[in-house]
């Protein structure tokens, strides 16, 4: 594919010119439905890099979770729109210097949600996946299915308005600015229209499934405290069971910790083994932040994350007395 060869060429140039010491991208995964993160230091390896519908990983997590490894290195990173916003956020939060990172944007048309594919194949193993643009074909033992791309895209991608990086050093192909999307707020508006008791029922139904595996936390580019509040035991803020009481506290607090920092990449929802709709609350909070403070996380490299900033004349309709 055109994009892939251009991407490989860009990586080769960057590594050959010694502009970067390391490149982080994706390579074909050992399983057909997910690409594997790729780390390369020499240009001969650049041909391993790929980019397609399976490249769901938000690679910016390596800047925060493995930051010691990248201390004095110049790193090139391949980013989709949401990943680019994460990288910008990491720069704003001083996790990595802007000079030490070369952002290579790739044109994204959405990434797949494994759970949606497996629901289509009735849980049968998928051996091969081909991305034909508008349709996607999966082949397994004794079957071949073809479906519309939109049917298997991650729900975050269906509501995405920034598919391409807004901050980049190089772009493979033509970057798009904001793309209008009629589904942007559909889910949130529907949810807001529910009554309090219906919302509570929804909350219970969703979060009761949680098994506290912390996959959502580990995969989140914005979650990188050295000691997470759930792992603290003095003071122990939260019990260690996966009862609803404990798991709801975990999710509420995690949500508040990523408020104004969530880039809506959907990595949490895709990583969740119990298929909890984690994105809904995240997107609701992101929308609230946009609505009240006018900030969209990770768009403005000269700005500040919403929750460390303030304006003196903010709306304070909730103040008592």
């Amino acid at each position: 594919m055109n994009i892939v060869s251009d991407l490989r060429k860009a990586i080769k140039e960057l590594l050959a010119d010694k502009k970067i010491d390391l490149f982080i991208g994706w390579e074909k995964g050992s399983l057909p439905l997910s690409a594997t993160p790729l780390f390369i230091t020499s240009e001969d390896e650049a041909d391993r890099a790929v980019f397609d519908i399976t490249c769901g990983n938000n690679l910016s997590i390596y800047f925060t979770k493995d930051r010691k490894q990248f201390a004095d290195k110049k790193v090139g990173i391949a980013v989709k729109g949401c990943d680019a916003r994460s990288v910008v956020l990491n720069i704003l939060e001083k996790q990595i210097d802007r000079e030490n990172v070369v952002i290579v944007g790739v044109p994204c048309h959405g990434v797949l949600d494994k759970k949606k594919v497996l629901a289509k194949t009735d849980g049968r193993e998928v051996l091969e996946l081909t991305d034909n643009g508008d349709t996607v074909t999966v082949i397994g033992k004794g079957y071949e299915l073809s479906f519309d791309r939109s049917e298997i895209l991650s729900s975050s991608c269906l509501a995405c308005i920034y598919p391409d990086a807004q901050e980049y050093d190089m772009f493979v192909g033509e970057p798009r600015a904001e793309v209008p999307n009629e589904n942007r707020l559909k889910e949130i508006k529907e949810f807001e229209a529910l009554s309090t008791s219906e919302r509570w029922a929804h909350t219970r139904e969703e979060y009761e499934k949680c098994i506290r595996c912390y996959a959502c936390r580990n995969v989140c580019p914005s979650c990188y405290c050295n000691v997470c509040f759930v792992d603290q035991n003095d003071p122990g803020w939260i019990g260690n069971t996966c009862e609803f009481t404990d798991s709801i506290i975990f999710h509420v607090i995690r949500n508040l910790h990523v408020a104004g920092r969530c880039v809506e990449c959907g990595a949490c929802a895709r990583a969740c083994p119990m298929d909890i709709n984690l994105l809904l609350l995240n997107r609701k909070v992101a929308w609230e932040v946009k609505d009240r403070f006018g900030d969209i996380a990770g768009l403005d490299i000269n700005g500040k994350p919403a929750m460390v900033d303030f304006r003196e004349d903010e709306k304070q309709d909730f103040i008592m007395g």
Binding site: F191, E192, T196, S197, E198, R199, W200, A201, H202, T203, F229, W237, F244, T245, I248, I249, V252, I253, N255, L256, A259, G260, L281, K284, V285, E288, V289, R292, F293, A306, M307, V308, D309, F310, R311, E312, E314, Q316, F318, I319, M320, G321
Partner: protein, 141 residues
Amino acid sequence: MKKEFTPRITSFLCKWCSYTGADLAGTARLQYPTSIIPIQVMCSSRVDPVFLIKAFLNGSDGVLIGGCHPGDCHYETGNYHARRRFAIVKSVFDSLGLESKRLKLSWISASEGPKFARVANEYTEEIMKLGENPTRKSIFL
């Protein structure tokens, strides 16, 4: 005899304004309900959202955060941050279907003893109308 319901309102009061305001209400012998349980914090922005949840977990019927008026913060900008944070906490409580009426933020300065008494009275009345915190029984053990 039926025991009358007395709400428990955990109040996080900032040391420089609201706590001193509460002190003034006391020294001025103003009447306010015993439902207010004051906890002194150094600034309203010291109140981590986890405190609020922990307060509900331990059986509070309401939570009140008291801070300096905007522009008066002892640490200059603490209450602005508290205000942003509070707006988001309230919205998350709403989205989950919890009663966000049980969360209040109020600006009370050190000289506003009467205001503290008024806020305490009004809030207690409001909580009395809402009744005991249902989440105390249903989710928060």
